[in-house]
C-alpha cells in the first residue's frame, strides 16, 4: 500500500501546476515527430508535445501518457498506453464540428 507518488490526471491547463512532477494525461495524437516524440491534443483543446515516447509507430489515436512535466506544454514520457480509437473526448468532437 503505497500512496507516496500519485500521478494526477491533468489536462493542458493543469500541466503548469505540476512542474517536474509525474502526471498522466490522455492525448489525441495529432502528429508524430521523428521517432520518439509526438504532438497531441488534450481534452481542453490545447496542443502538448511529448518527448521520449517509446514506440511512436504503434500508437493508436488516443494515448495516455504517464510522465514528468517538462514545461507548460510538454511532457517527458515514461509510459504510453494505447487508449484505442474510440475514446470519449467530447470537447474535441465538438471542436471538430465547429
Amino acid at each position: 500500500m503505497d500512496t507516496s507518488n500519485p500521478a494526477p490526471f491533468v489536462n493542458a491547463e493543469l500541466l503548469k501546476r505540476y512542474p517536474g512532477r509525474r502526471v498522466r494525461c490522455v492525448l489525441k495524437v495529432v502528429r508524430a515527430e521523428g521517432n520518439s516524440s509526438l504532438s497531441g491534443l488534450t481534452s481542453d483543446g490545447l496542443h502538448i508535445s511529448v518527448k521520449q515516447v517509446p514506440s511512436v509507430a504503434s500508437l493508436s489515436q488516443f494515448v495516455e501518457v504517464i510522465g514528468v512535466v517538462d514545461s507548460d506544454r510538454s511532457l517527458r514520457a515514461e509510459i504510453c498506453t494505447n487508449f484505442g480509437d474510440t475514446f470519449g473526448m467530447l470537447m474535441l468532437q465538438s471542436q471538430r464540428l465547429r
Binding site: 500500500m1 503505497d2 500512496t3 507516496s4 507518488n5 500519485p6 500521478a7 494526477p8 490526471f9 491533468v10 489536462n11 491547463e13 493543469l14 498522466r24 490522455v26 481534452s43 481542453d44 488516443f62 495516455e64 509510459i79 498506453t81 487508449f83 484505442g84 474510440t86 475514446f87 470519449g88
Partner: protein
C-alpha cells in the same frame, strides 16, 4: 453503496436504484448490487474506490471491518495498471497502480478452473485491469483479495470508474449528513477538475418530509398543539395563536404545517377552519 432512501424522488441517482446492470459502453458488466439502507449501515453492495480512498479508510479495531464515508466496505472495485506481477503455484499477486497510489492485489488460484487461468494469463505488466474483490488487512498492510481481474478493453471505462468513485463518495458523504467536501482529494483530477459542483449541505426548511419525517416547522407546530394547555382547551388553538407562539415562521408556513398535520391525523379542526386541536386530547 448507493444506499439512500430515494422514496419517490427521481433524481439522477435513481438511475442506480433497482440494482441490475448499468449499461456501459465497454464489455464490462459491473453488477452494482444496490442495498437499501435499513436503519443501520449494513452494506452488501459494491463500492468503486481509488487506492487513496482505501489507504484512508477507517478500520474498526475489534472486528477488522473498514469504513469509508460511513459505509462499511465489503466488495470493492478498483481499476489501474498492473505492476510487478508475480505468479506462484497457489496465487497470483501484483501491485495495482491507479494514479493515486499502489495497492497489492492477490488472486488465489484454483487449479481446476480454466477460465481463471485464462484471466491470469491475460495479465501483463502495464495492462489496465478492473479488479473486483474484498478489502483485507494483513499484518497492518491493506490488500485486496480479488475474485475477478479483467483487462480493460474500452478505455472509457477508466474515465467512468473515476467519475463513479467521485459520485459515490459525494453521495455517501451527503447521505450520512457529513459536510460535503468539494472535489475530494482522493479522486485524481481527470481532465477538467470537478470544481464547485458540491451539492448543498442542508435540506431547505420547505422540504416536505418523505415517509413521515416532519420538518422543523411542522414539529414545532405539533408540539404547540401537544402542550397540556392546548390539549385541555375544548376548541383548541387558533392558527394565529400558534403562529404567535413559535416565532421565526411565517403564517403561511404555519398554515401549511397545520394542513400537513391534519393529513397525518395528528390534529383536527374544531369550531371552524381556523381552530385546531391535537387528536391526543
Amino acid at each position: 453503496m448507493y444506499s439512500a432512501p430515494y422514496g419517490s424522488q427521481a433524481d439522477g441517482g435513481s438511475l442506480f436504484s433497482g440494482g441490475g446492470f448499468m449499461p456501459t459502453q465497454s464489455a464490462t458488466q459491473s453488477a452494482d448490487g444496490i442495498s437499501r439502507k435499513s436503519g443501520g449501515t449494513q452494506n452488501t453492495g459494491l463500492l468503486p474506490l481509488t487506492v487513496k480512498q482505501i489507504s484512508e479508510a477507517a478500520q474498526n479495531s475489534s472486528d477488522d471491518t473498514f469504513y469509508i464515508d460511513g459505509i462499511d466496505v465489503n466488495n470493492v472495485t478498483i481499476l489501474g495498471m498492473v505492476h510487478n506481477k508475480e505468479e506462484r503455484s497457489t496465487d497470483v499477486s501484483f501491485l495495482l497502480d491507479d494514479g493515486t497510489g499502489r495497492v497489492e492485489v492477490k488472486r488465489w488460484i484454483d487449479g481446476q478452473d480454466t477460465f481463471e487461468n485464462e484471466q491470469i494469463a491475460a495479465l501483463q505488466d502495464g495492462v489496465y485491469v478492473r479488479v473486483h474483490g474484498h478489502l483485507r488487512s494483513f499484518q497492518g498492510k491493506r490488500n485486496i483479495v480479488a475474485f475477478s481481474v479483467r483487462p480493460v478493453t474500452d478505455f472509457n471505462e477508466v474515465t467512468y470508474h473515476f467519475l463513479e468513485c467521485i459520485f459515490v463518495h459525494l453521495h455517501n458523504s451527503k447521505a450520512n449528513g457529513m459536510a460535503v467536501k468539494g472535489p475530494s482529494i482522493s479522486s485524481p483530477n481527470y481532465g477538467n477538475p470537478v470544481g464547485g459542483g458540491a451539492p448543498s449541505q442542508y435540506v431547505t426548511p420547505n422540504m416536505t418530509g418523505v415517509g413521515g419525517s416532519m420538518d422543523e416547522c411542522q414539529k414545532r407546530v405539533h408540539s404547540v398543539f401537544e402542550e397540556p394547555s392546548s390539549l385541555s382547551s375544548e376548541v383548541g388553538l387558533h392558527i394565529d395563536d400558534v403562529a404567535r407562539r413559535i416565532p421565526g415562521f411565517t403564517k403561511k408556513q404555519v398554515k401549511d404545517a397545520i394542513e400537513f398535520l391534519v393529513n397525518e391525523g395528528l390534529i383536527y379542526s374544531t369550531i371552524d377552519d381556523d381552530h385546531y386541536k391535537s387528536t391526543n386530547g
